[in-house]
Structure formats: C-alpha cells, structure tokens
Symmetry: C2
C-alpha cells in the first residue's frame, strides 16, 4: 500500500478511547521496526472514561486518575509517539499529511502519514444562550471539565443546582449532584426525561426522579442564564420561570467533532459524523480509518446510519481499526442501539428502535408493556420492573426493548440486544432458555413475559 | 379428534408447574362447556415453587404459602376439577382411561379421557444406604419435605449439618443451613462441587464455599448414615471418615417419575424421561402430552435429548401443552442448558456444553477462561468475575459459557443463552452491542472479553 520502503507511519488524530485503542492494537500486531505510530491529542489526557465523570463528580469514584485507563507514559512505553497538547489543524488527504499545532507555543508543522486514524471525538452542544459561558456553568465532557465542576461545587455558596437536559448525562449528573448534597432541578426540552425512551417509559423515569426529590421541569426551553453582580451564574430562566442556581450543568449532548474531516472533503452523514465502511475505513479512502464519537454507525435494526457516541463503541472501533491498520482483518458490523443508565437505584435501559424510530424507517409494529419483578415475587428484594417491547407486524421480528426498574433492570436489556442482532422474532424469544432461580428472576423472566404478550399481539390472538 | 359428541375431557396427571400450567392455559382457550378438565395430584399442594424451598428453609422466604403460585381453590374457581391426594395408579392408553386412587381411603376408580397430560414430575434420588430413612435425614423436593426439615432444624440438639451432594440443591441447602446458624459439611462424590460446571470452574465454587466456612469434602461417597441410641441420625460415614450430624440433607438430584408411563408402554429416553415431539406430544400418541420434570428435552447445542428438571422449563411446557390441548398451536423447540444458582453472595451460572459434553457428542472445541469485573474497575463495588467459554473448532460457533462471580454474574449468562439459541459464532459475539455504563459493566463486558479471546484462539492468532 505504502510508497515508502521499510517502515510505515500510522498517524492517529485524537488520543482517547478509539484513537488509543487503535494505536495499541496496531502496535500489538506490528512492532516499531515495521510501523511508526504517532498520536496527537490536544488535551492533557489519554484513554479516559468520560462515562465515569458523573461518578467522580458525585464522589463514588474518589480520584480523577481512577478514570484513566492508560496513561501517556504507558502508551509511550509501548513505542507509541504520543504528543499531548498538540492539535491537528488540517488534514491534507491528497498530500497524505496532517498539520499539527503545539497548543502552548502555537508552533505548527506538517507530518506525513501512510495510514491515518481520525478519532476526533465529539464536542458538547453549548446552547446559544446569553450567560452560557458565565462562571458556574459547566459541561462534563473532559476530565478538565469534571475538575472545574468539582471545584465549583466545593466553593459554591448555596446548594442549588440546575441541570439542563435530561438525557444520559443529565440524569447521571442529577444523581451526582444529589450525592454532593445539592437540591437539583432538571430543565428538559422534551416531553419526558430520557428522550431515548418512548415517552410512556420516560414518564416512569420522571416519576422516579421526582421520588428522589429532584424537581423535574419538562417541555421547557432554557432561554437565558442569569448572572449576579459578581458575574457568576445565579439562575436559569425559561419562558415561564426562573430557577435559582449556584451551579448549572449542561447535559444537552454532543455532536461529532468533524470540522477537520469536513474541511478535508471526507464524507459526512446526515448527523454530521464521518461515514465509514464495515472495516471502519472512511468511505472511498483505503488508508484512512475513523472511529469513536466522530463517526456514524449502522443501526442493524433500522438499516440506517445513526449517531451513537458511547465509549463501548469507541473501544470496539479502535480494536477493529488497529487490527486493520496493523495488517489484520476485522469489521464492526453495526449497533442495535443499546444503552443503560441509572439515577440512584433506578435503572434505565433501551435497545433497538423506539416507536418513532420504527415509524421513521417505515416499520409497522405492535407495542406491549408489562409489569413484572426482578426476582421471584416471594424472594426478598424483588422489585418492580417495567418492560416495553416492539415487534414488527406480520414478521414478528423484535424491534426494540425498553426497561425501567431497580436492581437487574439495566443489564437485562442484553437479552434483547443479542436477540436483535440475531433477528429473532418475539415468538422465538418466548422459548429462550434464560437463567432462572428465585433470587435472580421470576419463573418467567420479565423479558419472556413481554415476548409472550408481544407474540400474542402479532398473531392477533 | 374425539369420538365423543360435545364436550371433551382433558385429564391431567400431576398438579404442579407443568400440569397446572397446561390446565390453566387450556382453560384460557376453551371454556367449561367445550372442555372438561380434571387434574389429579397425589400431594396436598398445587403449583408450588420447588426452587424456592431452600430459601424458605433458610428463612429468606417467611411462609410456606409464599411458594404457592396458585392455590387449589384458585384452580377450582377457573373450572378445573382438581383432585388432591388422588394418585393415578395406571394409564390405559388403548382404553383412553386412567385409574385413580384416593390416597386416604384407598378407593380406586377409572376415568376416561379424550386428551391426557402426563406431568408426574421427578422423584428424588435416595441413596441405597443403611440409615437413609432415619429421622433427621431429609430430602427437599416437596413442601412437606421442607416443613419436615424446618421442624427438625428447630428441634435439633446440635448445630452440625451434613449435606450430601453439591449440585444446585446441595449448594443452595448449604447456604440455607448457614443462614439457620448451622455448621455445614458438604460431602460430594464429584471432583468439585457443581458438576454441571467443568472442574476448573467448580474449583472456584469450592474455594468460595470454603471461604464461607463450609467444610467441603469432594471425591467421596457416603457409605452409611449412622444413627444414635434414639434412632435419629448422628453422623454420615464415608470410606475414610465420619462426619457428625444433627441433621442430614440429601441433595443428590432427581430422576424422572415415569413408572406409570413405562408400565403403559410409552416411549422413554436414555435418561428415563418421556420422549415427546416439538409440540410436547408423547411420541406416537396424538392425544397424550407430557411435560415438566418427567420428560427429556432436546438440547439445541448437542442435538441430543437431555434431562433438565427445572421449573422454568416445566412452566414453558405447560404453556405449550395447554395451548395445543386447547386447540391452538405452540412448540417447545428445546433448551440450551442454562442454569443459575447462588451460595450466599457467590453467583454461579452455566449454559450450553461443558468440555465433556462437547466431547461426548463429537464436537472439537477451543476453551478459554478470563477474569474481569462486574462493573467498571474504578466503580465502587466492582467484584471479580470469571468467564469460561467454549467455541467449536473451525466454525467458531459458541458451545457453552460458565460464569462464577458475585453480583451480576448469574444473569450475564443470558447473553450466551440467546447467542447459543441463535447459533452465533464467538467472532460474531465480539461485536455484540451490550449495555455499558460504569455501574453495570466494564467498557468491554466480561462476556465480550471471553468472546474476543475465544475468537483469537479459533482463528489461531
């Protein structure tokens, strides 16, 4: 592939999960005498768990460094030439080179590559709001963000926190702030929290969060962030009300960070993420791979590309990219849309399509919802669990599952995740041989109860 | 089908999970004007959870009646003519009738049927040992057994208990006896406890049980149960030693109760269970169904019949039988061999084939074992989890998974249960979109870590 004789150079842009997994895996397959690996990261850290930040802020995870899976030194010890605080400012695809800038000094230089990995991640959505940059307003995407928020929380004069957004980050940050002893208000544009669930399931989350003492404000846009005489945040304003705030956390979500790729003319999808083939190669480019939060992924249920920024996918992408860039062969076939979360002891899980997703791609479906318990009803600690299941009309193919409950609700969704991957019908699912013992499940697992009801509805009896 | 005009009669032999589920489901489909349903049960109870008995004995479940899913009165209120304490003593298949005996009075009479359901369950293996019937020696299959054991435990003069057998019943009873404040010794014929696991995984259970203060004696046959001057048990003898015992619990397992079926010439398999077709009809008999602990089931991984007495299968069988006997259509495609259990906070799970099962059916395989954690390593409460995975040579098809760990180990096996059903390869499994968030899983779920290692071994790289 390469025009060079001898050693090739792999350049990685972005030193987090996808990029550094790719670098590590490529290094596993090819030694430094065959492959030079240079990784550019504009921040201070590599390979950290962004998903863990809410638990660090909340205090469950004691130290920032607990979230770092592999340090820069560990990467360098494996002959990866990692350059921190170095931002790639331009991709020259025709010239097979990138321009890198030292963030401290501003010095720029070009570096050529034989193989390129784009792992530029995501950037948080910052609302175009007056006051959004005021002291006391925080995002939670990076470790620096997390530290800044922790500092604010420690110094805050009052104990009132407002979270803007009620997706995964929003609900997890609500828990973290409760754990830090704050009174929490969540202001949410959607009809219910967790818009990745159907609203009827989101309502269960809403109720449970209110039960935890969180003030939930749904269906409301934030119009302004108000500051006091000291310039710090003092309240969040909506069209109808003002919510006093000593600290504001923005949990509105993220978008793919693809400005570089866009400028270089690389193919982007409808959600703004890079488009790749199954080997995670950027479409049309044999020697460029992309993965993690800057790419779109194929949803195997809808058959369409989707944007799913999630650490577990980023790690898989990195593994696949590193294998291919290292001369092996691997593919990432796609996702089924699994995600799990919790707010205190409430567990929330989803996989596959929501009602509106199914409609959008032309699928007609039956939807059922059942109530069951996490353990045999007579076993101590059995707690309620609600399972919603969607199945395609006529074929009965499973389309999606959403689960809200306490202990054991979240990971139960894995049953459906595998069933979606295997394209099982709900009728087939009724016969699944799932683990049963009274401490772990009723004799009919909640997922089986839902499958039975869905199967009856599909066959109309 | 029937020669009768008008209403047909369905006779059910055995009033536990399979039999009464079948009766209930048939009743749901056909009202009493179309279908008469008569159910014979030789015991005092119907539809109870035998799996729950250890937790009742241990005290976690307070009342016997908590284990009864549906009372005789509830069945009768749904027009099921339930006859307790009535034992069926003969099946006359040619004459389409059964002979029933009132256990109290000894009175016998014949009852004809149009459709018959055999759900005679299992009988516990009682060792042919001197002293096995002595007071203080208990089985734990029925509610009466459980009550008798609880009475013995309450009155016991000492606190030494010996459990014979270290399968599911044995380990669960060991926990129950610890919970009741007994010193527990488990005497086990096998090399390790839990012979449904490979010995290397059984060893982990052995160690954990010892860590709980249980004395484990493996590889040893009980030769005699010794009694004192009062005729009550005083010790359990093996070839090498005597273990003092104030109470002995036999947990050696069960065999299909098929004496009636055998006498009637119905087809039995190699394990002594009835053989059925996929609609749970006894092979060669259009109007006789059988289900629950008296039948053999097809193992979808090995392709051979297996004996798996488990409440969850019994309930599914009953559902399928009742649907078919009620004029509908349903099948039970088979099992993959999933089972979960726990001893205190140690969770044990298995599905598919062990190494010796695979060898027995001619499958060559690669086996891998990995260590991971239940949650992200940095998240509080993360506990170790060991996953063993077997994959077929060449095809890479998943053959089996065994998991031993703490929280979250047991139900994780469901991922593999669905994958086995769908005949996924371990390579396919590496891309499974499983739920990830730090409180629930490392970024690579332990099952994915095992699948990656197995896939590497299958492809030899």
């Amino acid at each position: 592939m390469s025009m060079h004789q001898g050693r090739e150079r792999l350049v990685v842009v972005g030193g987090d999960a996808a990029g550094m997994s790719a670098a590590s895996q490529a290094r596993r397959l090819k030694g430094p005498e065959e492959l030079e690996i240079v990784a550019f990261e504009r921040g201070h850290f590599t390979s950290f768990s962004a998903c863990g930040i809410p638990y660090w802020v909340g205090g469950a995870v004691p130290e920032r460094d607990d979230l770092i899976a592999r340090t820069p030194e560990e990467h360098r010890a494996r002959d990866i030439d990692l350059r921190l605080r170095t931002e790639v400012t331009e991709l020259d695809v025709a010239g097979r080179r990138v321009r890198a800038r030292d963030v401290e000094s501003g010095a720029e230089s070009w570096m050529s590559y034989d193989k390129l990995v784009i792992a530029t991640g995501a950037r948080p959505v910052r609302p175009e709001l007056p006051g959004a940059d005021a002291p006391g307003v925080h995002g939670v995407q990076t470790l620096d963000d997390g530290q800044a928020l922790i500092d604010t929380l420690s110094r805050a004069k009052g104990r009132r926190a407002v979270v803007v957004g009620a997706g995964y980050i929003g609900v997890e940050m609500a828990e973290a702030l409760i754990d830090r002893g704050f009174e929490v208000t969540v202001v949410n544009r959607g009809e219910q929290p967790m818009s990745t669930l159907d609203p009827d399931m989101g309502r269960l989350v809403h109720r449970a969060m209110e039960g935890l003492g969180i003030t939930m404000v749904n269906g409301t846009e934030v119009t302004k962030i108000l500051t006091g005489a000291d310039g710090r945040v003092r309240a969040v304003a909506t069209q109808h009300a003002e919510y006093p705030a000593d600290v504001v956390v923005l949990g509105i979500g993220v978008r793919p960070e693809t400005a570089l790729a866009r400028a270089a003319g690389l193919p982007l999808g409808a959600h703004g993420g890079l488009l790749t083939d199954l080997a995670m190669r950027v479409r049309g480019h044999q020697n460029i791979w992309a993965g993690g939060d800057c790419v779109e992924v194929l949803n195997l249920v809808s058959g369409q590309e989707q944007y799913v920024p999630l650490g577990t996918h980023a790690n898989k992408h990195g593994q696949v990219i590193g294998t291919n860039a290292g001369g092996g062969y691997a593919t990432f076939p796609g996702v089924v849309g699994t995600a799990v979360s919790k707010v205190c002891d409430l567990e929330i899980a989803r996989t596959g399509l929501r009602e509106k997703d199914a409609r959008r791609v032309g699928l007609e479906f039956e939807a059922v919802t059942i109530e069951s318990t996490s353990r045999a009803g007579y076993y101590p600690g059995a707690s309620p669990m609600t399972v919603k299941m969607l199945a395609e009309r006529r074929t009965g193919r499973l389309l999606g599952v959403q689960i809200v409950g306490r202990e054991g609700a979240a990971k139960r969704v894995d049953i459906a995740a595998v069933a979606l991957t295997a394209r099982l019908t709900v009728e087939q699912m009724t016969a699944l041989d799932l683990g049963y013992a009274p401490p772990f499940s009723p004799v009919w697992d909640p997922v089986l109860v839902a499958a039975r009801k869905a199967a009856r509805k599909v066959r109309g009896s």
